[in-house]
Structures are given as C-alpha cells and as structure tokens.
C-alpha cells in the first residue's frame, strides 16, 4: 500500500546541507544556459559559492540529529563530518579546475562545474543514507557525472578511454550493489538500515538459513563499494582512470569518492549489520574479510607504487594504499567495543587525507604542462632551486602522506592504528606499519629529486594563478593545523557515535 508521506515525516530541514547543494546545482544549471559565452567565467565562482553555503550550513548544524524523508535520510555528526570532508574537497577541486581548464583552453565548458556539483551532492547523500535504496540512488548520482568528468578532456584519447573503462566497470559494480541489496531485502524484508539491524539480530539468534542470504548480500555490497574506494582486488581501473582523467577530476575522485563510499560502507556495516556476529566469534562476520582486503590493498598499493615513474600513477597506487589503511579502521569497527572508535578513525583519516592529497595534486597541476606532459617523477628534479616554496610544500605533503609526526597524515594513521590494535587486529596493524615504511620510500624519492638532484624542473605555469595558490595554501594549512593541533580532530569526531545512534533507535522503537 502506498502511503502519502506527510510534510512532518519529510522533515526537510534536517537535510538542508545536502538539499541546498542540489538546489544550488539546479539553479546553476539554469543560470549557465542563459549566461552569455563571455560571462562563463562566473560559473565556477557561483559553484564555489554554492559549495561554501552548503559547507557553512553543515558546520552550523554540526551536532544536529534527525531523520528526514520517512527515515531514509539521517543527519548526525557523522553525516556532518562527511559533508565537511566532501565539501572542502569539492571547494578545493573547483579552485584547481579553474586554473586547469583555463590552461587547457576548456574554460568555456562550464558544465564541468555542474557535473562536479551533482557528483558532490551524490556524495553528501551517501553519507546521510539510512536506507539501502538511498545508498544505491546516491551512488548513481555520484558515479554518472564522474564518468562524464573522466572523459571531459575529449578528444584526448586517454581521457576518453578512462571514461569508458570507468563507466563499464562502474556499471558492473552497481550491478553487484543492487544484487546485494536484493539479498539483504530477501533476508530481512526491509531496506531500512535500522530495520536491517533488527532483522539481522533475529536471524542470527534463530540461526535461520537466511543467514546465507545475508552474508551473500554483505559480500556483494562490499565488492561494489570496494570497487568505488579502489580496494584490491577491485582496484584495477584506478591507475588507468586516474592517469587519463583531467587532473582536477582525479584529485577530487581520490578524495571525494572515497569519502562518500566509505561513508556508505560504514553506514551499512556499522549501523545495519554490526550484530552479524557468528557463534563463537567476537566481531562481526564481515570484519575478517575486510581485514584481509585491507592487508592486500596496503601491500599491493604500496609495493606497486614503488615502481611508478609517473606522478599521477604513483598517486593512484598511493591512493589505493590509503584506502587500505581506511579499510583497516572499518575492519576494526567490526568489533562492537571498538565500533565508534573505528568509525571515528576512518573519518579522521579521510579528513586528513583530503587536505594532504588535494595539496599534492594541486602541486602536480602547477607543474603539469599545458599539453598534459610534465607528470614524470624526473620532472621534479631540481624543483627546490627553482620554486623553493612549491618544493617545500610538496615536501610537506609527501611527509604527511608518509605519516610523519607534526603533519595531518600522522594523526590519521595514529587513530587508525590505535583502533586496529584495540580491536585485536595486531597483525593487520603490523602489516600497515611495515607497508608505511615501504611507502616512505616512494614519497621521499620525490623529495630527493626536488632537493638533491640537479635538473631543470620544467614548470607548466610561469606564475601560480591565485586560485591554484589559494588551493595549495588551504591544503597546506589544513595539513599543518591538524598535524600540530591534533585535539581539533578529536573534538570534531567526538560526537560521531553511530553505534550508539542505532542503540537509541532500537531502544526507542
């Protein structure tokens, strides 16, 4: 029977941060059509404004808790923090794109920013999904504009190839997701996450055969979202797409998509399925699988990155490796006692990684030449003597990616490792530590090239544009501030208690 939702149950206000971005995007769509060609320069600023408004709203409503759209959408500090991570990434990525599009003479193609806003709103809905259907819709809203953006540099063949590959494989992965949702619906009779939670508890208790369905469903969802976050062995598209896509898109994908997909994964697993604990086990059934995926991802990502000679491919593998560290936190969240801590660790890692990685990509963009070359590691030779400030910042970002103290990267790793050890995943933590040492090799290699080797780093831009400079500055400040004042992130994530949220819902219902 179809029920007409009442206005109260829609509860728009709670969803305001996400909605305001969608509304902004739609308005911009209209404005863009009517803007004359020579005024197209206004579009990125309007897009930036929309993102900042949404960011401000997210910050103001940081601690607000509530449900919207008949319980399909939930707002809590978790949602807000995901919003902040995604929106900061989007804002920085708009700044990067302004510089990049101008240099590649695609400035008039302002639909870029529209697509960016839509994919951003997809990410926001991922973080706020309280229902498997919303996860699916949000994932598609996230993915489809990204497919287009990957191929935005047409008629560049590499870019087109990347787009097509990403699209085909993405469609494949979406299929897995729908299939997984179907399984879970079959087992529990609902797609609403609190409902799934209640159903899971009943299934586990009665040991009914539906358990197989449930496990199958979980597996398929992990595959699909694992694809989005580029976990091994679903990562193969990553290097090709990252290399082929326009660099600002790559930068945004490596951070934003990850944030959105991890948010959805955490919501589904920690809110919906934390009690999927088999007899005799202490943590959720999916924790072990994720731990193995995390180990594979960290090992492969880091070792293969060692051999890359192209900075974008290197950062692609490095981003695979970082997904492994975040997966470690997700696996840790499978232990009910460490649930909230694991979730917080994952979010802290995403936040710190967002600033650092966008900063690194911003510098890559600064060095990239207009014809798309200039992305080889050897192009960094002697950068320190020509552009000392850029080299210094790049050093800082590389150190942060390595996880050296006093950088944000260290704080992220610290919390992730802490949660893993608390969840008893000591072996995984050891693998993580060893692979971070490996990672130090290829990050520091860039520093060595910049400072210790002679050469003429050919720089794409003779002068940094203001937008690019601003992006680098913001990223650098973020990396520095979170690195030096770690209590800030601790304060931010203190309210993120999604395990408790479900307990409240269960208690209340």
């Amino acid at each position: 029977m179809i029920q007409m939702p009442t206005l109260e149950s829609l509860n728009f206000g709670v969803a305001f941060p996400a909605l305001s971005l969608v509304i902004g995007a739609v308005l911009l769509l209209v404005v863009d059509v009517f803007l004359p060609e020579r005024r197209k320069g206004l579009v990125p600023w309007l897009a930036l404004l929309g993102v900042l408004v949404s960011l401000a709203v997210s910050m103001i409503n940081y601690n607000e808790v509530g449900e919207a759209f008949s319980g399909m959408f939930i707002a809590d500090p978790f949602t807000s923090l995901v919003n902040i991570i995604v929106l900061i990434s989007a804002a920085l990525s708009i700044l990067l794109a302004m510089d990049y599009l101008r240099r590649t003479e695609m400035e008039h193609r302002s639909d870029y920013y529209l697509l960016l806003l839509f994919t951003t709103s997809g990410m926001l809905f991922m973080g706020a999904a309280n229902d498997l259907i919303v996860v699916f819709v949000a994932l598609e809203l996230l993915s489809i504009p990204l497919y287009v953006l990957s191929g935005f540099r047409r008629p560049n063949l590499k870019s087109e190839e990347a787009a097509l590959k990403y699209f085909l494989l993405g469609a494949f992965a979406s299929g897995f997701l729908v299939f997984g949702i179907a399984m879970i619906y079959g087992a529990t009779g609902t797609t609403n996450l609190p409902g799934v939670w209640a159903g899971t508890a009943a299934i586990v208790e009665s040991a009914s055969p539906s358990l197989y369905l449930l496990l199958l469903g979980v597996g398929l969802i992990v595959v699909s979202l694992g694809f989005k976050v580029a976990a091994v062995p679903f990562h193969m598209w990553t290097p090709d797409v990252y290399e082929g896509a326009p660099t600002p898109v790559t930068a945004f994908m490596s951070v934003g998509t990850k944030a959105g997909s991890f948010a959805a994964l955490l919501r589904i697993l920690v809110v919906g399925l934390p009690t999927l604990i088999l007899t005799g086990a202490t943590s959720a059934a999916w924790a072990n699988t994720l731990a193995i995926l995390a180990a594979l991802t960290m090992i492969l990502g880091n070792f293969v990155a060692l051999r890359q000679m192209n900075i974008k491919r290197m950062l692609a593998y490095s981003s695979i490796a970082h997904a492994g560290y975040i997966l470690m936190a997700v696996a840790a969240a499978g232990d009910p006692a460490v649930g909230n801590q694991g979730v917080q660790a994952a979010l802290i890692y995403l936040l710190t990684y967002a600033f650092t990685n966008l900063g690194a990509f911003a510098i890559v963009i600064a060095l990239e030449r207009n014809d798309g070359t200039g992305g080889q590691l050897d192009d960094f030779r002697g950068l320190a003597s020509q552009r000392p400030v850029l080299a210094l910042l790049m050093t800082f970002f590389m150190l942060s990616l390595t996880g050296i103290p006093l950088t944000a990267g260290f704080i992220g790793k610290w919390y992730v490792f802490l949660s893993a050890i608390n969840a008893g995943l000591v072996l995984l933590a050891v693998i993580g530590a060893v692979t971070s040492v490996v990672a130090a090799f290829y990050y520091i290699r860039i520093i060595v090239r910049m400072y210790l080797q002679e050469g003429d780093a050919n720089i794409g831009t003779s002068r940094l544009s203001y937008t690019l400079g601003a992006a680098i500055l913001v990223a650098g400040l973020g990396t520095l501030i979170f690195g030096v004042l770690p209590f800030l992130v601790a304060d931010l994530t203190q309210g993120v208690q999604i395990v408790r949220t479900i307990a409240q819902i269960a208690g209340g219902g």
Binding site: A173, F176, P233, F234, M236, L278, T279, R307
Partner: protein, 787 residues
Amino acid sequence: MENLAQLVPLVIIAPLIGMLINLFLGKYLGERGVGMVAIGAALIAFVVAVLLLVQQTATGYAPVVVEIPFFSRWIDVPAAALYIGWQFRVDTLSVTMMLVVAGVGSLIHFYATGYMHGDSMYPRFFVYLNMFLVFMMLLVTGNNFLVLFIGWEGVGFCSYILISFWWDRAQKDKQFGTVGWKNSLAGRKAFIVNRVGDFGLLIALFLTFWTFGTLDFYKPGEVPIQSVHEQTRVIEVVRTDETAPAPASPALDEPHPAAMGVFNQAEQMMAEGATVSFGSITMPIQTVLTLIALFMLLGVTGKSAQIPLFVWLPDAMAGPTPVSALIHAATMVTAGVYLIVRSQVFYHYAPFASGVVTLVGAVTALVGGFIALGQWDIKKVLAYSTVSQLGFMVAAAGIGAYTAAMFHLAAHALFKALLFLGSGVVIHAVEHGYHHVQHLKEGEHHAEHGGDAPEDEEEPFDPQDMRNMGGLKASMRRTYWFYLIGALALAGIFPLAGFWSKDEILAEGLMRGFVEGDLVGYIAFGLLFISALLTAFYMGRQVILVFHGQPRTEAARYAGERAYGMRVMVNVLAVLAVGTVVFGFINVASGFWVVDRIIRPHVFADWLQHTVVYAHPANALMGVAILAVAGAVIMILAARSIYLHRPVVEGDKDPLQVNPQTEGLFALANARMFWDEIYDKYIVVPFTRAGHWLADRLDSAFLHDFVHDVLLVKTFNGVARLLGRPVDLGIIDGAVNGLGRLAQAIAGPLGRLQTGYVRVYALSVFIGALLVIVLLLLPLLQVMGGN
C-alpha cells in the same frame, strides 16, 4: 586589579609583533622605523611588567596563573597522563625577572639604535633582539618546567645567532695568530657547550615528571604549602576554591597527585617520607630530589657559565656589545640563578646538592675573578667578571640566601649592563679615532680619495685592547664618570648597588657558617671574600688603563664621545648609572648603621618572600661590611699605584709580568688558566677523533656500506622485485603475473590477453567477489561442520 594580571601575555606578544614587523617590513622601514618598532615592543613589555608590579602589590601578592584559551590544552596525551598547558605565572619572582629583562632590555634597545647605526644588517639585529625578549619572557613567565625549558632553549638559540651576528667577518685572533671565522666559532662553541648543560636540565625534567606526574610549578589557585603553615609544618593542600572539601587528614584523604604542582608535592612527599620507584630501583624522595637538583645544576652551569661549562661566555664577547650587555651579562646568563631560586623547594630538601651548588659558585667566582686580572681585552675583563659575579649569585642560592641571589642578580644586571655599554662607547670611540687617524694619513697622500679605511691593513688594529687606550678621561668625560660608578659598584663600594648585594651574600655565607656550623658557609665566605678583593683590583686596573694616564696610541688621542649615534648611547649610560646608585636601597639589611632607620630595610626580601618562601631577609654584619669595603679600597689603591705611572703600551708587558714574583701568576691568568687548552686536549680532540672513527669506520664502512647497502638495500630490493615486478608487470605492462596469473589459471584464454582491457579488469572484480563471498561463508561452514 585581578584582571590586570591578564595582561601578562603581552610581554611576549609585544616583542613577537615587533619582531614580525621588522622581519617582514624591516627593509622598508629604514633605521629609524626599525628602531622605533623594536624599542616600542620592548617598552610595552616593560610597561606591562610595571603594571604587574602594581597588580601584585595591590592584591596582596597573591600569585596568579593566567591561561590563554587556545593553548590551555597544549599537550594532551591521556595515555601517558601528560597534560601540559601553556600558562603564565604572575608572582613576585616572575615579575622581578620581567622588570629586569624588560627594563634593562629597553635601555639596551635604545643604546643599540646608536651602536648598530650604519650596519648593513641593522633590521636583522633588532629582529633577533626582539626574538630574544620573546624567549626570555617565555622562560620567566612560564608556569611549568616545559615552558621554561622552551624559553631556555630559545634564548640559547638567540644567543647563538647573536654571538655569530657578524659571522662573515674574518678576524685575526691575537692569541692564536690565526685568521678564522672567530665569531661563528664563538657562537658554535656557546651552542655546543650549552647542549651539555641542557642535557642535564632535560634529565632533571624527566625525573621531575616521573616523580610528580606533572611539570607545573603550582596549579592555578594553589599556594605554596610552607608559606601558609610556615611554623607548624602541617602539610595540606590549600586551594582557593571553597567548594573543594579541605582534606581532614593528609594520610587518609590524599588528593589526586595531579591536583598539586611539583613543589607542593615535593613538600608533601618529604613530610610523608615517600619513596619513588624507577622500575626495579626504589629511592627515598630525598635522594630523588638531590638527583634532580644536581642534574638541574648541570643545566645551570651551562646557561649561567659556571665551572665546568663557563668557557663559552668569554668567547661570546665576539657578538655586538649590546648583545654582550643584554644577553651575556644582564639577563640570559642569570636564567640559571632564576631556575635555582624557582626550584628552591627541591634545593631546600637536597642539602648535599645545595652544598655542591655553593662550592661550584664560589670556585667559579674565584676563578673568574683571577682570570680577569690577566686580560687585555676590555670586554674579556668584563666577561670574566660576569662569570665571577654569576658565581656569587649561584653560591648565594646554594647557601639558601635566595633573596641575596636575586638581589645581586638585579643589581648586577644594572651595573654590568652599564659597564658593558660603557665599554661599547669606549670601543666605538677608539675605532672612530682610528678611522680619523687613517683618514688624516690618507689625506696627506691623496686628498681626493674618500674617507674609506684601507681594506688591507698591514697591522690589524684592535680597538678592544686596553693597551691601545689610556687617557680617555680627558676626551670622554661623561662616559668616564658613568663607567666609574659602574666599576665602583662592581667593586662593592658603599653606597652603590653592588655594595648592598655583595655584602649581603658575604654576610649570609658567614652567618651560615656561624649559626648552622656549616663548613660550606665558611668556605663560601672565604672564597667569595677573596673574589671580591680580586674584583676591586681588576676593575681598578681597567679604569686606570682605559681612562687615566696618557693616550698610548693616536687612535686613543682622537677618540671622542660626540660622533653620530653616541649621544643616545651615553644617555643610556646615564640612566643606568642613576639606577646603579639608587637601586641598592631597596634591600637595605636590617641593623645597618643608621641607614636602616632612614630607609625601610629589606623591602625587596619582603616582596620576594611571597613567592620564594624559603627566602629570608638579611641582617647586617657591620664587621663584614667594613672589612669588605676597606679591602676593596685598598685593592683599588694598589691597582692605582701599580698601573698609573708605569708605561703599558701594546707589546709591552704588564707591570705584574715584569715583577718576577707575580710573573707566573699573571701568565696563568693571561692564559685563562689553560681551561680552553685542557678542554681542547682532553675533550674536544678525543671527541673529534671518536667522531671521525664513528663516521669513517662505524657509519660509513660498517653501517652504510655493509649493513645498509648489503643487508638492507639488497634484501629490500629483492623483496620489492619479488612483490613488485610480478604484480606490477602483470597488471600494467601486460604479462599477466601475480594476481593476473590467478586470473589466467581460472579464465584460460582470457588471461593471455593484454591488460588495459576492461574485460580483464572486470574479471578481476569477479574473482574478487568470489574471494569475498568465500571468505564470508567460510566460517559459517566451519560452524555448521562443527555442529
């Protein structure tokens, strides 16, 4: 009035802002602008310090802890129970130090605008000077040992960059006859020697943290236990907030340790006779306090130039004279004395350590005074005199005369700054005279050539050598009188500041011996008394060599105090001279002849006692006072009779050297008692050798070539190749290996296809999915099988 204390961050912020302005805008501001910014910053700090003085007086001397919002959780490690906030402490001790630092500091800033006039690195100098103020204020205002330590390290760094300020000047060193980068080497020496001391301080801090679980001096609202119950020694925590229930009995209702600062905890643990365990070793608290005090003493010997680490201070005179006056005489080097006075509770309960402190101080005083006898360089004499006077302060702190130590610290800051700045004026004047002479000579030869001094001088002229001076009294009247006041104060002549403070130390030493029957007291008194006599002698010698007699060089003949920039310098001397005359009266010893009936006695002691609870006002010993003054006068007259009418020209020998009876002594003093040579031979050279051996053999040959290159790199490369090449080549370059091989095995012909193809990627996703599902279902099968 309470709120006035909230101003205290300004003492750091003002110099910080001044520093930043000069750092970024210095080159646009010009000399006047830079000077005004720097002076303004120092003056603001001084005004704040004065306001804090008013605040303390008006609120009954209650200590105030000021927190800054953002840094109150500065270090926050719950796992190690390490909580350190950046808190400011406003109490009578810290306000005293602030007044000294900002007061003398401001005057020296004024002076430096004249002294550094025309220097190409003028803005940089004032950036450094303001930076020094920032760190020195950090040191004296911090409410815990860590903030103190940061300031401690910061001033050390400023000292290093300021000693080496003229790093690019190659200079001829008379003593060793080598042309070298003397300034850089001096800076480096200061830095390295101080590292040894700082290591000791660090160990002391670690021990403190281990023992007490905090580094805070006192928690906010906490007052020293012993100041409340001085007589009865009832130990309890006294807190100002009334809501906290007062513990009925300390044994039953013990407060959480972290609720108290280190000093009150030390008191309490001493009262309980507590023990501290370090792993398997357990020590009584008194032993621990002795250890802390001794390690802290090592830090003090570094920073305050005591035996055995004093050797850096004389070399530090290579820096510009304002730096010598501010950092290496008045403020930074007294940080060690401040540290001991601040930690008086530790020293109070560690009599052995205090005895060591006393001996170190007294011997340093004697050695410094003796070496000063044989120096020719006007600043070196003052430098060794500073070493000697710091020895007085440290010895005073060692015998428990904390008031006397602080009193001498403040008085010394005034008159030693006066002497250093006066010597700066003299050096400047002689240098000008020398250039004037050169100019005249140049003019004779070719008049059209400007006033530039010739670059290649055959015979280097040293404007600091007292043999090149003489008779300056005639041309530099004002400077002469101010310098004389400073010198007489240093020699301890009534009624100048140095008399009061030095006499108090001597009296305290003797009292210590008399009253407590303590041998250390007698030794200290004896050594310090001889040092005081030496002081009078070398100052007499200096004044006579510099100002009296006939000019010994052309340069001295043309020296004058009227050159540009010198007026402001001499005016600063005037202010300091007035301070030197009146300052001593703030702490007149009680029972001193008629003076204590005219002026309220020991005002300073009363003021300090609110913070330094173990301090006590001094009683005058008229006998000691008369003896000391008489001795000083005799020594000055002796110096006069020896030096006034004998020819002392460069190259010629000191009258003491000519006399066979004193020849050996003078040679010993002139060679600085061979301290540097001994250090060189027994420490520096073996250390360098060990360093070379470690670098060449252990590091390069063994660690680098063998362990690193052979063991690590080869193994690592092997592993990387093993893991990297199959996987990497398989996926990216086309040969499907590693994970790709798995795909090959399962998918047969598909696997042969080059990757880069989507279908291979999709296959990988598919295999991954199988893997995930198997992994998920595996435990379930086991469970089922088990059933």
